[in-house]
């Protein structure tokens, strides 16, 4: 079954390079996404057998994050069909600088999207640290052409920064792999292979200074891809210049994959007895990320960059949650689900706004509720959700983390966390809610809003609303088990 999970998108990607007919290719995209989601849904009912001698296995962390990614990819592929259709027929003029530009060939775009899904599956299910690393590198390389879809110089600048910074980050995490190998070298000749299961089982045999250094390098290396500050500098540029559905996938799925990498390293470090060390580092990075996000969100002029910084913030919250331990870990895992759902929905709506209002600047967008009511409603809902309004899911997860912080007596951290959340709330609301209200004065290219551009966001926001009120018991159990694995409850 895991073979199917990996090979379906992989072969679909190669096929889409060969298919000439656009409609057929888009159908292939949606078809692979549906297959992937069905198989992931099956994984909750029955366990999958590990393949290749245990190199790939769907353990609980993989199951959770892969399901998230699968749902997101499904929704995005629905959106993509309409998006690609419009992109083909429109006059491609860069409205910022009034120049003409091209798009990359659609086949390359679709192929990269599908390959991205395949590589993501491999990253999350990989049980060997080396393979995890290789596939993480592959996701970097595969997403670069996605960012460079609109071929003009700003997106090229964003792609270059993304490539360089993420490649350096991946190189650093390769060094982390080597350090882990040294830590796993044995005391008497036979060293422990870099398989997650074995490393956790024999954690006490690992050499402590090397485990610590390995964790630091993993955190910095994969943290670059995850968007933890101060390594996040590629994030705002890449998210603002890429097509919105690519930004949605990056924020919703790719950042989570990088987080999985860090979680794997965290498990091993905890098994080696360095749990507190790892947790302290995660708390530090988490708070720093939230701080950077808060500073840059206030007065942010462009709404897509604002969403990008919001991603940085939420990644910080994820790290903080795991770093606090206790019930915060459950909150962090729950937060991962909700954040991905909400952020993807927001980015898809942002794509609509961009297509209709033809501006990236938030101050120029007014009166969404009157001119594009469906998008407007879901935009407002999404913004309220992402800033932590009840009854959306994010409120619940952020509250869990806060409660854990107070329960542990770490009042300073809880206070900083709360203040930063408040600042970010003010910053985002001031910018984004005004976009929905008021009257619009720009000449708009308003067509009837396509269903395919609203339905995905609608479904996602509705899901996170439901999760904020009711957590299915199956999911609840799974989250508790994962939290236990990560040193919490």
């Amino acid at each position: 079954m895991i073979w199917a999970l990996i090979l379906i998108p992989f072969s679909a990607s190669l096929l889409s390079l060969l298919i000439r007919d656009d409609k057929l290719r888009r159908g292939l995209l949606v078809g692979s996404a549906i297959c992937h989601s069905i198989i992931m849904a099956l994984s909750w009912a029955q366990t999958f057998i590990p393949i290749l001698g245990g190199f790939f296995a769907v353990d609980l962390i993989a199951q959770l994050f892969l399901s998230i990614a699968s749902i997101l990819f499904l929704m995005t592929s629905f959106y993509a069909v309409g998006y690609l259709k419009t992109e083909k027929h429109e006059n491609k003029k860069d409205f910022l600088e009034n120049r003409l530009f091209n798009n990359a060939p659609e086949a390359v775009f679709t192929a990269c999207l599908l390959m991205f899904l395949a590589m993501m599956t491999m990253v999350v299910t990989s049980q060997h640290f080396g393979i995890l690393w290789v596939t993480m590198e592959a996701t970097t390389l595969v997403t670069a052409p996605l960012i460079y879809f609109h071929r003009h110089h700003r997106s090229l600048e964003a792609t270059w920064k993304y490539l360089l910074i993420c490649s350096v980050g991946i190189a650093v995490s390769l060094l982390g792999n080597f350090f882990l190998a040294i830590a796993a070298s044995s005391h008497n000749g036979v060293s422990i292979p870099l398989m997650r299961g074995e490393l956790i089982a024999r954690g006490s045999e690992l050499w402590t200074p090397w485990v610590k250094v390995a964790f630091i390098f993993f955190l910095v290396g994969y943290g670059t891809k995850m968007g933890l500050a101060p390594l996040h500098t590629w994030l705002p540029d890449a998210h603002s210049e890429a097509p919105s559905l690519v930004s949605a996938l990056l924020s919703g799925a790719l950042l989570n994959c990088a987080f999985v990498g860090i979680l794997r390293a965290f498990e091993v470090t905890a098994a080696a007895g360095q749990l507190v060390f790892a947790q302290d580092l995660l708390v530090l990075f988490g708070l720093v990320s939230m701080l950077f996000a808060a500073v840059f969100i206030i007065g942010q002029a462009e709404y897509k960059r604002m969403l990008a910084y919001s991603s940085v913030e939420h990644m910080g919250i994820l790290a903080l949650g795991v770093g606090l331990g206790g019930s915060a870990v459950y909150g962090s895992m729950f937060h991962a689900i909700n954040h991905s759902l909400t952020k993807t929905a927001l980015f898809l709506i942002a794509g609509n706004i961009l297509a209709i209002y033809k501006t990236k600047i938030a101050a120029d967008v007014r009166g969404m509720l009157s001119s594009i009511p469906a998008s407007g409603i879901f935009w407002m809902a999404g913004i309220l959700a992402i800033t932590g309004f009840p009854p959306f899911g994010i409120f619940l997860s952020e509250f869990m983390i806060l409660r854990a912080g107070i329960q542990q007596g770490r009042y300073f951290i809880a206070a900083v966390y709360l203040i930063l959340l408040a600042i970010i709330f003010i910053g985002i609301s001031a910018i984004a809610l005004r976009m929905a209200q008021g009257r619009n004065t720009r000449p708009l290219d308003v067509k009837v809003e396509r269903r395919s551009s609203i339905m995905p966001s609608a479904i996602l926001i509705f899901t996170t609303l439901v999760l904020g009120i009711y957590i299915p018991p199956h999911l609840n159990n799974a989250l508790h088990v994962i939290a236990n694995l990560l040193g919490g409850n």
């Binding site: 080396g130 590198e137 390389l141 040294i182 070298s185």
Partner: protein, 210 residues
Amino acid sequence: MWTDIVMVLLILTNMVVLGTSRLRACIRIVATQGVALGVLPLLIHSIETHILIFSIISIILKGVVFPYMLLRTLRQLNVWREDDPYVGYGMSLLAGPITLAFSYWVSTRLPMPFSIHSPMLIPVAFFTLIVGLFLIVSRKKALTQVLGYLVLENGIYAFGMAIANQQPMLIELGTLLDVFVGVFVMGIAIFHISRQFDHIDTDQLSALRD
């Protein structure tokens, strides 16, 4: 002793890359570095077939393919010198030995749990790593940044040599693959940059900022 000579060669090549502004010379020096590192597995392990094949692949990749690609990009771009880096060449040169002393210090803080072939391997690997990062940060031209990335990867490869008798060649292959694809993609990106912008000065890629 031969390992030591390779290590000294590595150090010298790093110093030269730090100090020269001529891009063609830089590319050739990084190529020599790659070839020296390609020979290293044969010196450290016994000469078996798979190690031999691996060495040959590394040498061809780093000594022939990469320089050819990068030189071709240079010719297309008609750029030959890095005139105005963020950190001047004299300072970069002086930073070299200071970095080497620092990496020796770091390696004393991290005792190796098993014996490695040459005690110079770890410090020199760290040194190459830091030189690579330094190049990425202190140079403006996108091509020199790619060269810095190559040097960074050389450092990681050298590190991999130290542990290679503990873990299989999988990791080495991973590094090689990483470098190959990374440089390939970055070369393409540089070509696009030069087409869009008419230069490869990343200092001027500043349209996106907060």
